[in-house]
């Protein structure tokens, strides 16, 4: 079973890896975007860990809802509302249970991802974060490590795609050949899940 502490560790691990990889995320956002994805997420997840320390919600749902709200309030851009919605809706779906099973989490995470696709309108193959998140949640049944691998493969697989959503879509065919920054940060998020689990 996963408790509030697990989800706090997830957020802390995400913040750490986003901090480590911020320059790479920004560099990926440079040829096909506006060169801010790394600094956006760094700002957001630093705020998330700070607020989690201060408010210390004691349920899994409370942790993720607060984290999502904080991302919405501090990130801006496309990724702020999208990642914010992902976590907030996942958190809401978890309700106020003090512990949740891995299956509960997988179902809630899928709800969160669906909220992202509703909000942003992206379908699989549009070269967005969805291309890492969906394979990850599909693989969650096989454990966090499998989800991590699926997310990473999903991120890499965005390279040959032509973007249809977000800024990269303005480039038309010139977006082909570059890995999507948002899919890359989604892979970090999922990897942090495995890390929080000690995998």
């Amino acid at each position: 079973m996963l408790d509030a502490d697990f989800f706090r560790r997830w957020m802390t691990a995400t913040a750490a890896s986003v901090e480590r990889e911020a320059d790479r995320l920004t560099a990926l956002d440079s040829p096909i975007g506006d060169a801010d994805h790394g600094s956006n997420l760094r700002r957001g997840f630093a705020a998330v860990t700070a607020t989690l320390e201060k408010e210390a919600p004691d349920t899994p749902g409370g942790v993720l809802t607060l984290a999502g709200r904080q991302l919405i309030s501090t990130v801006g851009g496309a990724s702020g509302p999208l990642y914010g919605t992902l976590l907030r809706r996942t958190g809401k779906a978890l309700g106020d249970a003090s512990e949740v099973s891995e299956a509960d989490f997988a179902a809630a995470f899928r709800t969160g991802i669906e909220a992202v696709t509703t909000l942003g309108g992206a379908a699989p193959g549009d070269k967005t974060m969805v291309d890492a998140l969906l394979p990850a949640v599909d693989a969650l049944g096989d454990g966090f490590a499998a989800a991590r691998t699926a997310a990473e493969e999903g991120a890499v697989a965005t390279t040959p795609l032509q973007a249809r959503k977000g800024r990269a879509s303005y480039l038309g065919e010139r977006s082909i050949g570059h890995q999507d920054p948002g899919a890359t940060s989604s892979a970090l998020l999922v990897a942090a899940l495995a890390e929080a689990n000690g995998d």
Binding site: A35, G38, S39, N40, G77, Q162, R164, R167, Y170
Partner: protein, 330 residues
């Protein structure tokens, strides 16, 4: 890339402190990143709120004042502001007559303003929205996030702002803003990329002897790269790209806009070529504005925006405006 900054993290806050010092006619909330007309809310009048990533100055903060915006929300550089800012701005300027959000069509801006609208309506503030999407370099189709909002933002903010100042109701101010957007088309070119403070180096490589056609205002590459062209050739390309997409029967407002690092001397010369091409294509010009209005940090290049105007829109364009970036009639 050298910049006249302290550290990248404080660029926006530093700029807001500097704006506050230079413009006593504005209330600048540095911590919450909201720039408001000192006399807001103006009793009985619709308020206009806009915002977007920083790096496009004078847009939007430089357009706050009588006859234009009631408030602006600057985000991080090239990053849409967050809903909290927009909500705070709306609350500060709403007199009860409602608030019009002017939103450039970028995924981030749209999502954040939509969230803010929901929150504001929860607080009893009436919200309407105009989405600006004037950039013909982007095809508006299922395969893109739709056209970008660029130079036409200035026309929408000025003309809808004048309508609001006259006391027109929210629905009419919104309709006017939409009409201005529908009547407007833009096309931009870059002679160099720009450098964001966070990245510290140019967002793309543009070799000497080449230019990018169809760029936006966020340092993204354009649709196409070509060998360098003359000012006259660029004017033809840009105007024709616009006229492929609109056939003005009324006279147009012309905005010849600098991306930030192109000298005014060159912009005026470019304007001469734009006017030459418009005349050759039979397009009548009502008014022309030349300068750095919707910029892209230190990018070299320019954009052309045309906005078709009838007598009423022209009257609203000519109406008094008093902001840091645009000022006439008062």
């Amino acid at each position: 890339m050298k910049m006249l900054i302290n550290v990248p993290e404080t660029v926006v806050a530093d700029a807001l402190r500097g704006m506050a010092a230079a413009h006593p006619e504005l209330t600048v909330d540095v911590d919450n990143r909201v720039i408001v007309r000192r006399d807001a809310p103006v009793e009985g009048k619709v308020a206009l709120v806009s915002g977007g990533g920083s790096g496009h100055e004078p847009l939007h903060g430089g357009f706050v004042g009588p006859g234009m915006l009631s408030a602006a929300c600057p985000g991080e550089v090239f990053t849409s502001p967050v809903p909290d800012q927009m909500l705070r701005a709306a609350a500060a300027v709403d007199s009860g007559a409602g608030v019009l959000f002017v939103v450039k069509n970028y995924t981030g801006d749209v999502l954040n303003f939509d969230m803010a609208a929901e929150l504001a309506e929860d607080e009893g503030i009436r919200i309407a929205k105009v989405l600006v999407d004037d950039d013909v370099a982007v095809t508006d189709s299922l395969y893109t996030a739709g056209r970008r909002g660029t130079g036409a933002t200035l026309f929408v903010e000025k003309i809808a702002g004048a309508a609001a100042d006259e006391g027109q109701p929210l629905e009419r101010v919104e309709a006017t803003g939409r009409q201005v957007n529908e009547n407007s088309r833009s096309f931009g070119v870059a002679l160099s990329a720009c450098s964001t403070p966070a990245k510290g180096s140019p967002t793309f490589d543009l070799p000497d002897g080449e230019l990018e056609l169809g760029v936006g205002i966020h340092g993204e590459p354009g649709r196409e790269r070509r060998p360098m062209m003359t000012s006259g050739e660029i004017a033809e390309f840009a105007v024709d790209a616009i006229l492929d997409d609109m056939s003005p029967r009324n006279p147009v407002l012309v905005l010849v806009n600098g991306m930030g690092a192109t000298p005014l001397l060159e912009l005026y010369g470019f304007n001469a070529e734009v006017q030459r091409v418009l005349t050759a294509r039979g397009v009548a010009v009502a008014r022309t504005l030349v300068g750095n209005y919707v910029t892209s940090l230190d990018m070299a290049g320019a954009s052309v925006t045309l906005c078709q105007v009838d007598g009423e829109l022209l009257r609203l364009w000519d109406a008094p405006v008093r902001t840091a970036g645009l000022r006439w009639g008062i």
